[in-house]
Amino acid sequence: MKLLIRIRAAVINGLRELQANKVRSLLSMSGIILGVASLVAMVTVVQGMVGNFRQFVDAMGGIEKITVDKQALPKEQEHLAELSEGLTMRDVEQIKATIPIVRYVSPEARVGYEKIVWEGREVNTMINGVTPDWLPVAKRWVNPSEGRFISDLDILHKTDVCVLGSSIVAELFPPNVDPLGKVIRVKGKRFIIIGLLNNIEAQGMEIRSASGKGRGSGGMWRWRNSGVYIPISTAMAKFNGNDRLSGLGLQVATGDDLNYAVEQVERTLLQTHNGLRDFTLTTNEQTLEDFRKTEVAFKLSLGGVAGISLFVGGIGIMNVMLASINERIREIGVRKAVGARGSDLFLQFLSEAAVISVLGGLIGLVVSMGIVSIMNYVLMQAVPTGVVSRFDWIIMLQGLSFSVVVGLIAGVYPAIRAASLDPIEALRHE
């Protein structure tokens, strides 16, 4: 309690000293201001980039996704081509039957980039044959008020139904028309619209081309909001004329099982393909791993720069404190002569350093807000869906406490010097 009273008195005294030497105090704070501002701004922006990339990986199906694509046979296997019928529904059945850690298997039979027509309006887009598993693997959904997705019954009966992406809806239908139940034509064949996919908008980003709710989207997510999805059986029977798949999307129960699952899927496919390597497996893991490395490198280098400026800020504080002590040697002598202990003076000068660093840190936070706002603005100009970083009070609190620690460390040496001055010498000082 007594110590608290002493600290309170020392802090009040520190504030008075700052007020008495405004310019000098501001100069001594400048290092801390820049240090905190750059630290907080850098961490915030890197955090924004990380968040952005996480979203991107998620949009690609997340870390749990394995993609199987067709691949040309390696040279030494070319003469065996007829032994394998490529990716088929048999692969799907086999994977489902033998690899339980694969939760969803989503085969795709691409029809191609086609023109779709409704009442004279037309749009070109990708037509995809898919199964109900496409939704969870792509991490998409159909809002209950916007119909339903393709069902197992649609697959079984090869029905002529389709589900549209939101950008197609926006391009094909006027805003006041409900697309559900409308009939569109694809290559002359009629399909009933039974559902609309959710619109993907990047969280935390303003997409300036976005208009109306749920209709249309721009930027890097645009391709994800286009497309027409029909039952895979319909695609094979009505358009492709064979049961070849253009690719497979798999979702593993947890990301931890990914490597094991990749091995299992590869083994199974080699079996069904009679040992021919006419497929390739890719995961998002490598991309994520690369990004993690970049993130660490970013944080280290930017954090290093910010750390150095905070260090320089600390030296600035120490410098000013030492100069101020030199100017106030007589004052220190007087205070000691009237009964101040070494610890009283230590506390007094340490508090001054602390007050400088706290104020500097607070100003630095305000400056960092400005920097991040400007960077957001510039990035938005450069890339429409550019990185938008948000302020995180935890980062700000960390920045502030970092500056306080630096200030306290920088204040210790000058405070010790003040505390250990001999009162007689100090009083003689001119």
């Binding site: 009273i5 205070r335 000691k336 002569a337 009237v338 009964g339 070494g342």
Partner: protein, 228 residues
């Protein structure tokens, strides 16, 4: 009145380069409560060293000091600080008021380092001390706004604010004009009535003439100790 401090065989030696300087060389003295003492001597006579040691700013190399019945010749720095804030007051030639503090804050400063005073109590005590020296009309002024005589009166208020047993005045009139010298010396003399021992350290005979007892020092020794 009774004894306040008794010193026996006091030595203080400094090493300067390869020479040892004996600032005090076997000093024996007794100070009673409420005495008005002048310590007289040229510079280098050891009078300042004696004041610093008796004022708990310094420690002797050898010898004993009984202060209010306690041996105090070898105290820790914090303990000496306690004595400075509780039992001793200083008045300096150059006033040594802190320029950034008001008159009231300057006088209250010694109490800032005492845990038995609240903010209100400090202010109250400072006001009483300023009234005592006739400066209660300048509470919010800065030292720079005062004349030399006024500054020294504020300094005296600061020296007595903590109700000390002894006040040391180091050439208290050295920076004052003739008119103010007498006022300050009279003010110091009036403290005796409160049982405070006043020690004026000076090389000025006319200043020493005001004291009841004059101790003359030379080369670290007491040359003469007489009542007048």
């Amino acid at each position: 009145m009774g004894s306040l401090a008794t010193i026996r065989g006091l030595h203080k030696a400094y090493v300067m380069g390869d020479e040892t300087v004996h600032a005090l060389d076997g000093v024996d003295l007794n100070f009673d409560r409420g005495e008005y003492i002048a310590i007289l001597g040229p510079s280098g006579s050891g009078k300042s060293t004696l004041m610093h040691i008796l004022g708990f700013m310094d420690t002797p190399t050898k010898g004993s000091i009984l202060f209010e019945g306690e041996e105090v010749s070898n105290l820790s720095p914090d303990r000496r600080a306690w004595y400075r804030s509780n039992r001793v007051g200083f008045v300096f030639q150059s006033f040594n008021l802190l320029p950034r503090l008001s008159v009231l804050e300057n006088v209250a400063l010694p109490l800032l380092y005492r845990e038995d005073y609240t903010e209100d109590a400090r202010e109250e005590a400072a006001k009483i001390a300023l009234e005592r020296v006739g400066m209660s009309h300048r509470l919010t002024h800065r030292p720079t706004q005062l004349s030399g005589g006024e500054r020294q009166r504020v300094a005296i208020a600061r020296a007595i604010v903590a109700r000390p047993a002894i006040v040391f005045a180091d050439e208290p009139t050295g920076n004052l004009d003739v008119k103010n010298v007498d006022r300050i010396l009279d003010l110091l003399g009036s403290l005796l009535a409160e049982g405070i021992t006043v020690v004026v350290v000076t090389h000025d005979l006319s200043v020493a003439a005001k004291a009841k007892r004059v101790i003359s020092m030379r080369a670290g020794k007491v040359q003469e100790d007489r009542l007048q």
